[in-house]
């Protein structure tokens, strides 16, 4: 009978094992670039990951302690019968302990208050509008079923003028410069998700929400839609290209603008050819 | 806590601790039911308040339909048609030629007089149209754009609700609450005839309230024509604005509750006529009364929030 406790012990050990192994495999751990699995590319990402790891340790400790106590109780206090079929040992008769109740309320309370206060500044840095960078807007990003429409201000630095640059599912920015984006939606709710930069923000129709982030490695990253938005939600994917230098970015922009001027398209048409799956 | 302190009860008495149970299951249940109803109306009225507080300051205007894009119309002018005067065709023609509006739209403007609104003019055009209409014997006045985040009470250009009518109606409902109190106290004293009488009075007053509300709905939905600032179609229907959506939902659900109350009262009244209740046994009258007061209180809140502020 008491060996049932082993099942519980095994499940707990398996869980701890899986979580403990995770950091050692890039496939199992928080998403980072393939080349550098140990490096988080954004400042917010580094803070968030640090917090994540603190919570992982804390909850891991709580988990191991509670499961150990549970399994021990299951093992140690299993009913056993003596030769005559009578219980070998009576159960203890007590109704609790006020002192213990107080202790195990106060300790978690301390831990939780610590956590709550500790993370406030990160949250404020990532989301509070007062923390938004005072830089010009990199682009206005509008979610629509099922693509990300990007509108760059173009040479005059203003969005909504004739020289705006339009792209679809293609967001470009410059390494080490904080990118400020105005997030919108033209139909249903979408969510702007950059797994590698640990950024997520819903795009809500009727609202314009500022989002900012940075990236310290040039390269190509993925932009996902994280809020259910219809049948094509799963494939509402975009590219994020981080340029090494401002000059490179501007060259890209100039080339794109020239292309756009040639084809005379203001706003790109909805890509109906994407109508089929995959 | 030792064992022996449980007082010996007769085996079939349901309640445990308190010796004479002050509340009956029915009363507990009706209060709980009212609590759920309160939360329901909190959801609706709370949403109303949130919408109202969160509406941008240009949501409603005297000259354009609700939620129109007003950014580029800041110096737009219009003309408010106070009375059509003897020459309706001439007035219609003048408006059509000044604004280029189609026949149907012009007809709506005329129908909405004394609050017909002609929009889409500039300062000069408004002045000319006012003068032209004056010549035709109509009453007209130039108006500049005024916006608000929500329709204001007693502003016939943005708010179709008649506060006067509804004040009377509110008074009727309050009276019905009073007669209900009298009905309950009558039966508590065992005066069955008096109870029936006051129940009937409550029933009639409640029915009157509903009748007035039906009349009000009729006026809003099709009876009258309203200016553009209230509705682009001339009629106040749920889809024309957020205010309309809220108004019909909140007052509609309240109306349904009144209707349910009237049906309940009718049943109780019949029971009373048949002599079902007495000074000892008047639960149904009391519960119907509690519900009726609740409906009344919700109305007073609703009236204040939706009509008055």
């Amino acid at each position: 009978m008491r060996y049932w406790s082993l099942i519980f012990a095994l499940a707990a050990a398996f869980s701890v094992g899986a979580f403990a192994y995770a950091p050692f495999s890039p496939d199992w751990w928080l998403p980072n670039t393939v080349a550098e699995p140990g490096h988080v590319v954004s400042k917010a990402g580094r803070e968030i990951d640090a917090l994540f790891i603190i919570i992982l340790w804390l909850t891991g400790g709580v988990f191991v302690a509670t499961q150990a106590a549970l399994v021990w109780a299951q093992f140690r206090y299993a009913d056993r019968l003596d030769a005559e079929g009578k219980p070998a040992r009576p159960a203890r008769y007590f109704h609790g302990s006020q002192r213990l109740e107080v202790i195990w309320t106060i300790i978690p309370a301390g831990i939780l208050v610590f956590l709550a206060l500790y993370q406030m500044s990160t949250w404020a840095d990532v989301k509070f509008r007062s923390a938004a960078p005072r830089t010009p807007v990199l682009a206005e990003l509008t979610g629509r079923q099922f693509q990300w429409m990007v509108k760059y201000p173009g040479p005059d630095g203003k969005v909504g003028t004739a020289d705006d640059l339009f792209t679809v599912n293609d967001l470009h920015l410059v390494k080490d410069e904080t990118a400020l984006i105005h997030l919108k939606s033209s139909d249903v709710i979408h969510s702007f998700f950059l797994p590698q930069m640990r950024i997520k923000q819903d795009a809500v129709p009727g609202m314009t929400i500022p989002v900012w982030f940075d990236c310290d490695r040039a390269g190509r990253y993925e932009l996902a839609c994280a809020e259910l938005c219809g049948w094509g939600h799963y494939k509402m994917r975009g590219d994020v290209v981080v340029h090494e230098t401002r000059a490179e970015f501007e060259a890209w922009q100039a080339a794109k603008l020239a292309e756009q001027g040639r084809s005379q398209v203001g706003e790109p048409e909805g890509e109906t050819s994407e109508g089929d799956r995959q | 806590m030792t064992s022996a302190d449980a007082p010996p009860h007769p085996a079939h008495r349901p309640s445990a601790d308190a010796a004479p149970a002050p509340a009956t299951p029915g009363k507990v249940a009706i209060w709980l039911f009212l609590a759920t109803e309160i939360m329901f109306f909190t959801g609706l009225l709370g949403s109303y308040i949130v919408f109202r507080a969160g509406s941008p300051p240009t949501s409603y205007s005297n000259l354009y339909a609700p939620a129109a894009q007003l950014d580029r119309l800041k110096d737009a002018r219009g003309v408010v048609l106070g009375a059509v005067g003897p020459d309706a065709d001439g007035v219609a023609g003048a408006i059509a030629s000044a604004t280029g509006k189609g026949e149907a739209e012009v007809a709506r403007i005329l129908a909405a007089a004394p609050h017909g609104v002609v929009n889409g003019l500039d300062e000069k055009g408004a002045g000319e149209l006012t003068a032209a209409l004056g010549k035709l014997g109509a009453k007209a006045e130039a108006a500049s754009l005024r916006t608000s985040n929500w329709p204001r009470p007693y502003d016939p250009l943005t708010n179709p609700l008649s506060i006067d009518l509804t004040t009377v109606n509110t008074f009727i409902l309050i009276c019905s609450s009073a007669t209900m109190v009298l009905a309950v106290s009558a039966i508590q004293q065992g005066r069955k005839g008096r109870c029936s009488l006051f129940l009937l009075a409550t029933l009639v007053l409640g029915g009157t309230f509903l009748g007035v509300q039906v009349f009000e709905y009729h006026e809003l939905l099709e009876g009258r024509s309203y200016p553009i600032g209230i509705s682009p179609t001339g009629h106040f229907t749920p889809e024309v604005s957020l205010f309309a959506s809220c108004f019909f939902t909140v007052t509609g659900f309240h109306g349904l509750h009144v209707a349910a109350g009237v049906v309940t009262l009718a049943i109780v009244f019949l029971g009373s006529l048949l002599g079902r209740f007495s000074a000892q046994d008047f639960g149904a009258v009391e519960y119907a009364g509690l519900y009726w007061h609740f409906v009344d209180v919700v109305w007073i809140l609703l009236f204040t929030i939706v009509y008055l502020i």
Partner: protein, 593 residues
């Protein structure tokens, strides 16, 4: 209530088994419909898992009649996947877990455990069950309307759910979904009113509030939670329904347009729906866990043969969870565009909810500590409840931390959390309750061997199915996507492997329910006849026959103490029913017991 209540059962089979006002019959009705829907919801989950492990591979057998377009070559259309998880969650939450916990256990146990002959309002009780049927009908009918069932997720966020052109399921299915939920809601509301009144008014002599079993306490507090939170959801559903049918525009913002459709003229606020929805649906998750906590407390105390550790703190903790549950709803909306300062306050209140939960967990372990633990199927499931709830609860801490939630919101980390609390928590509690009370409900005993087989495989495969969801989740795997391989970072071999592993475990988890189904039906007709008190437990339901007679008790019992007096020193037996006075030499600590 008087002696007149003790009359024979109705003779007419229709009023005896179908339109019965007997709380025990109604409980069984809730139990059966809940379990049947459990099978349906589980089947939908199996199809979900198939698609996730092997995207677009035709589903064996089912693909032929679930979606017919031949052009797809048997592939699942992506909108069908959205329908799957929407209906899976809707069924599991509103038609399985809540009806079984509150409808079945609540109905069966409240009157029996407090020593009442029936609910306060038997006819209303019957109504609460039968109003579920229009709900069932709307739910099932929605599969056959044009556009198919709802596909806006169980959260039904507008404008996806309100604009008929935003998704096929929003054409008609969403309306049916709303109506189904409204019916289920009315059922819960009338049920709650009945339960609260019964607990407050109909307790047997001597049954003080602080002598009620934890199960009754938990159901009582759950009913309060529902009575105050559900009407707000009702108002939200009504507004969404009006948006869809009457042209109101509560939740459609100005200017939004789907596809090339006309721009909406509304002015409404999509986020308002989220607030109203979560104002109920966060408390709803506690509706789904509190009764489980009550059941676990009773089962653990009985099979540890030991008084419940800290009875009063346990009650206070339940109340605290319920109370705090009203002020944390915003934690589902951290990334929604809600004011981030508001998010910070919701984060603090959410963290605080872990405190009463901590009290519960430690007290369960304290109850087992020093006991004489008997490993029955019921006990095993109750212990699994504790073990798994800890995992689910702790993962909640990650999400409560707003910055971390930025990354894990709307990923499989959340899905992992959901299933650890709802399968590992609520469902194990339901199993524990079924094994524990089956003899009382049906008068026959379930087979322990099969019960243990069922437990063993369920426990193992539930870990296999849901554990790795946390890992793929923090790796960034979004939820509600039929094909993760669209994304490069989700094409990593480890992620693909874990998805397949989870799917295989999920199938095994489904198969592991076969022994349960067999056991259930076999025992129902051929199980050994049960004694009145097979587990030697203390609470009142065990003092009457199995199954209890119509109107429950020959004579209303008289109660002397709380139901946790096990292994009282000097006692002849190791249990002391609530109807037997405590021995004179025992005095209890008033704070703890």
């Amino acid at each position: 209530m008087s002696d007149a209540h003790v009359h024979p059962r109705p003779r007419n089979p229709l009023t005896r088994y179908v339109f019965s006002t007997d709380h025990k019959v109604i409980a069984v009705q809730f139990l059966f419909s809940g379990l049947i829907f459990f099978a349906v919801g589980g089947l939908l989950a199996m199809i979900i898992r198939w698609q996730l492990a092997w995207p677009w591979r035709p589903v064996p057998i089912l693909s032929k009649w679930l979606w017919s377009a031949p052009a797809l070559g048997g592939q699942m259309p992506p909108e069908f996947y959205n329908k799957l998880f929407t209906m899976h969650a809707t069924i599991m939450i509103f038609f399985v877990i809540i009806p079984i916990l509150t409808g079945a256990f609540g109905n069966f146990l409240i009157p029996l455990m407090i020593g009442a002959r029936d609910m306060a309002f038997p006819k209303l009780n019957m109504f609460s069950y039968w109003i579920m049927w229009p709900g069932f009908a709307f739910l099932l009918a929605s599969f056959f309307v044009e556009g198919g069932p709802s596909e806006a997720g169980w959260t039904g966020y507008p404008p996806l759910s309100t604009d008929p052109h935003a998704a096929p399921g929003s054409l008609n299915g969403q309306t049916y979904w709303l109506l189904a939920l409204l019916c289920a809601g009315i059922s819960s509301l009338t049920g709650s009113i009945n339960y609260i009144t019964t607990v407050v008014m109909l307790r047997a002599p001597g049954m003080k509030m602080f002598r009620m079993p934890m199960t009754v306490w938990s159901l009582f507090i759950t009913a309060l939670l529902q009575a105050f939170a559900l009407p707000v959801l009702t108002s939200a559903l009504v507004m969404q329904l009006l948006d869809r049918t009457a042209g109101t525009n509560f939740f459609s913002p100005v200017g939004a347009s789907v596809g090339n459709g006309p721009a909406v003229t509304g002015g409404g606020a999509p986020l308002l729906f989220q607030h109203l929805f979560w104002f109920y649906s966060h408390p709803a998750v506690y509706v789904m866990i509190l009764p489980g906590m009550g059941i676990a407390s009773d089962v653990i105390s009985t099979f540890s043969r030991k008084p419940l550790f800290g009875y009063k703190p346990m009650v206070v903790a339940l109340a605290a969870i319920a109370g705090l549950g009203f002020i944390v709803w915003g934690h589902h909306m951290f990334q929604s565009g809600m004011n981030p300062a508001l998010g910070a306050t919701f984060m603090v209140s959410t963290m605080m909810i872990a405190l009463p939960s901590a009290i519960k967990v430690f007290n369960w372990i304290g109850t087992m500590w020093g006991g004489r633990i008997q490993y029955t199927s019921a006990m095993l499931n109750a212990m699994a409840f504790v073990s798994m709830f800890i995992i689910g609860g702790l993962s909640g801490i990650f999400m409560a931390a707003t910055p971390v939630d930025i990354h894990i919101h709307d990923t499989y980390f959340i899905v992992g959390h959901i299933h650890y609390v709802l399968f590992g928590g609520s469902t194990f509690a339901i199993f524990a309750g079924v094994y524990y009370w089956f003899p009382k409900i049906f008068g026959r005993t379930m087979n322990e061997g099969l019960g243990k087989v069922h437990f063993l495989f369920t426990f193992i495969f539930m870990t296999g199915t849901f554990l790795f969801m946390h890992i793929v989740g923090w790796h960034g795997h979004m939820r509600r996507i039929p094909d993760p391989t669209v994304y490069e970072f989700l094409r990593a071999p480890g992620v693909v492997w874990m998805n397949q592993f989870m799917t295989i475990c999920a199938f095994a988890l489904g198969l592991a329910q076969v022994p349960f189904v067999l056991n259930f039906f076999y025992s129902l007709v051929a199980g050994p006849k049960a004694e009145a008190n097979p587990w030697k437990a203390n609470s009142l339901e065990w003092t009457t026959a199995s199954p209890p007679p119509h109107y429950n008790f020959e004579d209303l019992p008289r109660v002397f103490h709380a139901p946790y007096e096990y292994s009282v020193p000097g006692g002849e037996e190791d249990y002391l029913p609530q109807t037997s006075p405590l021995p004179p030499n025992i005095t209890l600590d008033p704070v703890m017991a």
